[in-house]
Each structure stands twice: as C-alpha cells, then as structure tokens.
Subunit: 555 residues, 2 copies
C-alpha cells in the first residue's frame, strides 16, 4: 500500500493556470505561486452566482483521536461529482505546521482523495499562516511598546488580554514571563503563545467579507483595558492600517487541485473549539462563484463544527447548505458502542449497533437545523458488508439517506454512490433555510443555554465566577448581540472527553468567556481547552526528510 | 518631492517572466510568485559562468544612524551599467519586517534607484524570512520537547544555547522565562527571542552552496551540551531532514527588477554584526551566472561589512570583487569631522575635510585587501560642488578613483559617471585576489587580533572570562579552523559607538564568543550587541495603511 505522499507524488499535476482557465477565472485575477498553486483575487466573488450554487456541508459523528476523515470524504465527493460531469469545487481549511511536524499530520485528505501539491499545502503553502502569525505578533509588539513608552503614566493599560502566536507545537511557550532583565527590556508580564489557528486574527481572516471589512474587524479587536477600565482596541493603538497591510495578499483564496485535477480552494484554518473551525467565507464564496456544487467541511463532530458553521459562518455569510453529509467510520461507531480502542478495527456488528446512538443524535441535530442529511462511511478495508448494510438500513428508518464511499481507496470512482445520492437529495428534497439554535437577540447566557440543551443535550450550564464577570463586561460593552462559539472537547457531547457515546442531562461548566470583538463572536470556554499543543515522544519531524529532492514523511 | 513608495508605484513593472527571459533563464527554472516576483532554481548556477563574471562590492564609510545609502548606490550603479549597455545585475539582501514597521524602514534603495515591487519585497516577499523563522522555532520546540520527554534522566541536556526568533522589533521578548505553570507545560527556563536576521539559520541559509550543504550545516548546529558536557546538535536531535524541508523552497534566489526594468536578485538578510551581513551566496552566484557585472553589498561600514564579505563569504564561495565602490555621504564625513548632528546637512567644507580621515582608513583597508576602489558620493541636494570637487581631488591623491553619483534623484542616468569609472577600473586595473586578514589556520584569538589591529586599528584585544571559557571549548571541539565574525558597533572602528571619526590604539573587549557551527564561523561579541531591536515612540506602523487599494507609509 502506498503512503499518501507517495500517491500524491505519483500523479502528474495540471498547471494551475489550466485549472483556473477551465473554471473561467480571468487570467489577470490569477496570482500564481509556483506552477501549481495560485491565489484568486477576492474581488472576483459574484454574489449572484453564489446564490445559484449548491453548497454541501461535510460534517461527522463524534471523532476518535485519529479523526473521522471528513477531508478525505469531501475531496472524494468532489472527485465523484466531477466524474458525474458536475462542476464541483471543494473548499477546505489550510493545515497548520504544528500538527504536521507533531502527531496529527497534515490536512489534505488521504489515499486517492487528496488535494495537491500536498507537500506545499502542508508546509508554507502561499504564506497565509505566516502573514497571520506576523500580524498577530506585530500587534503584540506594538502593544507592549505602547505600554513601555507610556509606563508610569495614566495612558498605560491596566490589563492586556492579547497573546502571541506561533504555528508550531511548543508547550514551553504556553505560559511565559516576558519583559525581564531590567528597564530597557520592556515591562515584566505574565503572558504566552497560542498556536496560529487559535489567533483571533485567523478567525477574523476567515469571516472577513472584503479588505474594508477585514480592516474594520482588526480595528475592533479588544486588546485590554485602560486605567479607567475602558476597552482598548487596535483602533486605539492606531495600527489597524499596518496590520491590514500585512494581511492584504493573504486574503485572496488559494486555488489548487484534487488528485483528479478538479479545482479546490484552500484558505484559512481556525481551530474548531476556540474558533469556528471552517475555511474562509471568501474561499467558500469564491468556490460558489465558479462551481455548481461546492463541498466544504467544518471541524470536529457536528456538535462543534456544523453548529458553528450554521449558527456563525452561514448566518453571517447569508448562505446555507442544500445538503449535509454526515461522515461515520465503523471504528468511531464501535468506540461509541463501548468497544475497547484496541478492538475497533475488528468486525463487530453489535458494537457498531450500540454506537449508532451517537450517529443518531448528530443526525437529529442536523435535521433540526433543517438539513437534508446523507450519511456516509469513510470506508476502511476491514469494514464488513454486514456492518455497512445494517447502517444503511438503520439510516433509512431514521429518515436519512445513506451512501457508500470508498474514496480513500478508489478516488472519485469510490465516491460515485455518494455523489449520486447527494445530487438526488439536492434535486428532490434539499435542505430548508437554517433554523438557527438561537437568535442574535438572545442574551449570551441564553444562547449558550440553547446550544447546550438543544445540541449537546445537557441539562444546565454553570458559569464560573470569572465567566460571570466577563458576561457582565459583555453587557456593559454592548456586545451581547454577538453569536457564541463554545470551546468544548471534540470527543464528547459533554465537557468530559471520557464521556463518549451520548452524554445526556449533564451540567456544562463554562470556565471563562472571551470577547473576540474583531471576529465578532463570544467564546465560551468549557473546561480546559488546549490553545498550544505539545509534541509527542516521537514527533513526526523525526521522520520528515528530503530524499533525492523529494519530501518524505508528510501525511 | 515624491516619496520612495510613490515613485515605485508610479512606474509600470515588466512581467518577471520577461525579465527572466531576457537573461536567458530557462522557463522551467522560473517559479513565479505573482507576476512580478519569481524564484529561480538554484541548480541553474553555473560555476564556469560565475568565474567569468565581474563582481563589484558596494561598501561604505562608517555610517550615521540614518545609514549611508549603499543599496541606493548599488541599484543606481546597476541601472547606470545597463544604460551603458552592460549586462548588469544587482544582488541584495532581503529587508526585515521589524525595522520596516519600526524606525529604519525597508531596504529596497530609494528615490529613482529602487528594486520593485518594493511593497512586496518589504513585506512578506516570497516568504523566505518566514521559512527561516519557522525552521528556527521548530528546532526550539523539538529541543524543548526532547528536554521535556527526557526530564529527570541522563539524556536531558545540561545547557541549551538555542534561542527563538521572530521577524519583529519586540523588546519584551529579549529575556523571558518559558515553561511556566507547572509540569505538563515544559520545563522552566531562562531564554528569549532574537530578530530573524540574527538567527543562525539565516547565516546558514546565506552561506549554503546546495540543498545537501544546507542539510549538512543544519545538522551541525550546536544546540547545547549534554549531561557529560558533550556538544548536542540538530543531528543528535534527529531533525535535520525536517528542518531542511522547511527551507528547501526558500533556498532558491528571488528575482525582481529595478525601477529601470533591470534584473535584481534579492535573497537572505543576515545581520552585519552577529552575522556576516551579505545576501546569499546563491543569489550572488546566480547573478554571476547571468550577468557580466554583478553589484552586491555588505552591511554597515567596510570595517564590518567588507571585512566579513571578503574574509568569510568570498573565501568560502571562491569569488572576489574586481572592484569595490566605497560610498560616502557629505553628512557622514561631516559627522566624523565633528560637525554636530544638527548641522551636517549644511555646507561645511572644513567639517568635511576633517572627516575624510574616516574615509581614508576604510580606503586603506580595502586597498590592503587588494581591492581597486572607486569612491563615490550618495549625493544629496544640499551637497556643494566645492565639497565634491575637494573629495574627488583628495581621492586621486590617495590613489583611488572617484566618481559622482546622483542615482537617488536621477536613477541610472545619475550613476553614469560612476558606472563608467567602475567599468574602466575593472578593465584597466582590476582588484587582486583577496589578501585575507588572517589565515584559517590561525587560532581564534589570533584571527580576532589581526582584524582588530589591522582593520579596526586597535592595539589589543581583551577577552572576558566567559569568552576565555568559550575559546577553550572551541579548541576542545576542534573548531578553531573556522573564520571569525566580530559583532561590534557599526558607528565606530572601536567598540564604543560614541567614538566616531577614527578611533586608534584602543582596547577591544570581547565579552562573549559564540559558536555558530552550522554557519561555520565563530562570533566574537564586542560590547552590547542588540539582537532584538525595540520599537520607537512613533513606530512607522502608525503611518502604514492601505488607501484605495495601495499601500502607503512604507519606505
């Protein structure tokens, strides 16, 4: 069996100019980055065409630590739709360097369903993450300089809430004291670094609708509080223009291709807990401008990813998916059916049946949003016909469609049944406009309560004292109209990662509430959420190399 | 008077593919980054052509805080040579984002002698600095992870010498304590960040002769010492391959153009104190492959820049300049003639005459290296004919050529006298092969002593206890054969920045000696050398913006 990178390197790529020309992208709007990557000027987005395009959300049941394979399914579905003669484009998130060199690996799909050139996409790509890192840290340096230049005066801030970021897994940087070694070297301060996908700049970048909107959001970022407890923003610091300049090129979506030479837009990559977990609105709308079918994904399981996609991203962008694909794996189902981790790759119909309750709840949630759902398997070689048949039958009984998908092993051909089913569903019984879980007019605690009770199915929300204080501040600042982004473990409906299957009637503890005024949402943090991962004992970096001019060890 | 950025934006650029085609660069070797920037595969370097090309070094007298304008002169000279019908290419360093958003500004030249697109070059360009930052910090994360995974065992290191970098002016990061907040978040440690141009990766990048050589140098980087005082390198950490992968694309030199549509290679940008201060060897050799005349520069005054260029870079690369251009300004000469800073823009022949001693010493030093020298003025509107005539006459008496240069105001046309003179010198009396200041076989203290006495004209070198210890370690490690890179203030021949003009018979104090085993040189630090600048009260970031889609405020 070939590795992902061997498969990717074994296929001759089309020049990106050809991919763009086939879509009808005007040549002057195409900004090449090498021969196989390009940016497309965001001004090419055409809202009239966006309104005509059929958006498809790929989401998943509660994942295992290895993930479910949404990206693989999304790419396979795009390849399958193209094999059916449809103008289909996939829109995905950009990978982060941290996990690539750590444990999780890249984010280009797998097997015969990948976006390429996968080495480039998984490494520096077109520099978007670097631009975001620079912008984030330039704000930090300018802010600390402001403090330094105004030290001892009333202009100095009382509290700084802005942190720095790096796109690397570096646990040593989570908590630091900066500004040491005496006067002249800044002001001592407890602070730290998050990973770049956790930067508010990343969230802003992915929600911005234009360069002006990007600027407005950057100016709005809350950096801390003055001596008189007033909010202090990037606009107050006076550097919104400079930070926008650092992001202006990155803002244009990136065009690459699938292994079957279909178009793919890969742009932005925010975390799916602390942020909303979807590629940029610009990439989605650019894909919708040029594609009749646009496949996109949202991070983690549907409780986190789809909820935020529908309540935050789609609400803001004024779009909604005509169908949702809910991805399951036999392994995850068995895990939720209490099969031990060591045994989840073995045939076990009973274990799988017991785990269907997790799938059922995600299905109900999506249907409650108004989504027409097609359940699919991200197939593995050890899946049995019995298991798949049972799941298919079970889905039909629940009013959902089911289609097989063997895209990893077979590429688009393996996803043809899924592609056909999705086309049929969109034609015959497309989703309804989104029934949002909460109204923007609801108070922040109400919004959180509605997500917790209706989506997670907990019975109550308890706010810590810190969170209560923050909630009051939000009222004072007049920001209660913002949507909420709940940062919770991806492994359970509850805030307890060990509680797999379907947690119910639990209490969700909100430890902290963070104001992302630039991004335009309020983050409610349930439990300990890692914003800077660490490296494992055997990091992938030990296996990455250049051999005969080719990169090895990326996955 | 138009600003630099207004001039740059007012000129229609040639597609970079045209610039490359005119040079004879094969199309498949050209990797576009947008329409006006490209990388050229380093494998196109042809040593036979390099040997035929005429290299010209642009260096300077001891600068003022505003600099001397070597880049402006270098670009103007290239433009002038092109107007003479010569195939001339300029090879320069890449700017750092820190100073661009701080005080010093960009590094693309000025007036009508600039490389363009200056906004792109001054911002993210083709991502080289970001790749270097990533590589540096990935090593730091992997190293701290090694310490963390082996904590409490004999495998844990006793001392870590590697620091992190960011391409930003951020004084608060100079001295930090990382790994705080208890077990699970790394091991508490005193450390800090330098600016990216001060990274050893940057020096390595600029001295590497191939991808394999890059890999070898990265593997050689000394990161710290084991429990048994043995050196611990990137090879010991096992991540040389992964770090090389992060740099492999960046390694290809960047092609852009001058304001007069001539070719320019801009690649790498190491500090000129803590490192050797020149663009990459690859860029110089790429320019020499395609150009009959190649103009390059070395950071700060000739005591720092030219010395390192000749003793480190040229020695390693096996090249030498056929002529050196020594740049002076009337302002700097007057400053060295003890005219007060406030008055250096006013006509003052006597002040200028008194400052010629600084020019004289740099001239002598260059001639001692075997260089044929053309002295030039980076002309300003307030320079008087009397001042320039006097300097010209003075130069002739010292056996050096002199030519006027008004490239800032007039572009290549203003540099025609200089270009003609340089061509004449190279034809009639080219430089001799380099007479190096020291032999590689000399001990490290001998090498330092020779530079200090012969170039700086001090009388002795005193090593601190820390430096003495490091010198012993160098002997033990068998690294005494490496060249030395002295990190000293750029404002004086001595280690005292206030001592302008010509310091003599001083004692130079070496506070510390740093082993850059990957770069392949030993850094001797004289006095306090800033490796992470701070921001001023009124940082340039406050004036940078996007207005009607155009960047303003970069210089």
């Amino acid at each position: 069996m070939k590795t992902d990178i061997e498969i990717a390197q074994g296929i001759a790529l089309q020049p990106i100019a050809n991919i763009a020309a086939a879509l009808g992208i005007p040549a002057p709007a195409l900004i090449p980055y090498g021969h196989y990557k390009a940016k497309v000027q965001y001004t090419e987005i055409d809202e009239a065409k966006v309104a005509q395009s059929k958006l498809i959300l790929v989401t998943a049941i509660t994942p295992t630590k290895a993930g479910i394979g949404k990206t693989t399914v999304g790419v396979a579905l795009a390849q399958g739709l193209q094999q059916l003669g449809k103008k289909a484009i996939v829109a995905l998130r950009e990978p982060s360097l941290g996990p690539c060199f750590g444990m999780k690996g890249g984010a280009c799909g797998g097997g015969y369903a990948q976006v390429v050139p996968m080495e480039d996409i998984n490494l520096h790509f077109t520099g978007d993450f670097h631009a975001i890192t620079s912008a984030n840290n330039m704000i930090a340096a300018l802010l600390d300089n402001y403090q330094y230049q105004h030290r001892g005066t009333e202009l100095a801030l009382k509290q700084i809430t802005w942190r720095r970021v790096l796109d690397v897994n570096d646990r040593s940087l989570r908590f630091i004291v900066s500004g040491l070694n005496g006067p002249g070297n800044g002001i001592p301060q407890e602070t730290g670094f998050d990973i770049t996908p956790a930067s508010e700049i990343m969230a802003i970048f992915c929600l911005a609708s234009s360069l002006d909107d990007l600027r407005r959001r950057i100016d709005n970022i809350l950096l801390g509080y003055t001596h008189h407890n007033q909010p202090f923003t990037v606009a107050d610091l006076g550097v919104g223009g400079a930070i926008t300049v650092l992001l202006k090129d990155a803002l244009n979506p990136n065009l690459v291709q699938t292994l079957e030479a279909g178009p793919a837009f890969i742009h932005g990559g925010p975390f799916a807990n602390i942020a909303h977990g979807c590629n940029s609105i610009m990439a989605t709308k650019m894909a919708m401008t040029y594609g009749d079918y646009v496949i996109t994904e949202a991070g983690f399981g549907a409780d986190l990813g789809a909820e935020k996609f529908l309540n935050i991203k789609c609400r803001q962008a004024g779009i909604y998916p005509k169908a949702s694909v809910l991805v399951a794996t036999s392994q995850a189902l068995k895990l939720h059916g209490n099969v031990t981790l060591a045994d989840i790759k073995k045939p076990n119909l009973k274990g799988l049946q017991a785990g269907l309750k997790n799938l059922e709840r995600h299905l109900e949630n999506l249907q409650h949003f108004g989504q027409s759902v097609v359940v699919t398997f991200n197939q593995y070689s050890f899946d049995t016909a019995e298991e798949m048949d049972y799941t298919a039958q079970w889905c039909r009984e629940k009013g959902a469609d089911f289609a097989l998908n063997n895209g990893f092993a077979e590429g688009g051909r393996g996803a043809l049944p899924l592609a056909e089913k999705v086309v049929e569903v969109i034609e015959k019984r497309p989703s309804q406009p989104i029934r949002h879980t909460y109204a923007l007019e609801d108070s922040i605690p109400e919004k959180i309560h509605k997500v917790v009770t209706q989506i997670y199915r907990g019975k109550e929300v308890v706010f810590s004292k810190t969170a209560e204080t923050a909630l009051k501040k939000i009222e004072t600042l007049g920001l209660a109209h913002l949507p909420v982004c709940i940062a919770k473990t991806q492994y359970s409906f509850s805030d307890d990662a060990a509680h797999i299957g379907v947690a119910s009637d639990f209490t969700l503890n909100i430890e902290n509430v963070i104001i992302n005024r630039g991004a335009g949402f309020i983050v409610a943090v349930a439990g300990e959420i890692m914003r800077m991962p660490g490296l494992p004992k055997d990091p992938q970096a030990l296996h990455i190399d250049v051999v005969d001019g080719k990169v090895v060890g990326l996955s």
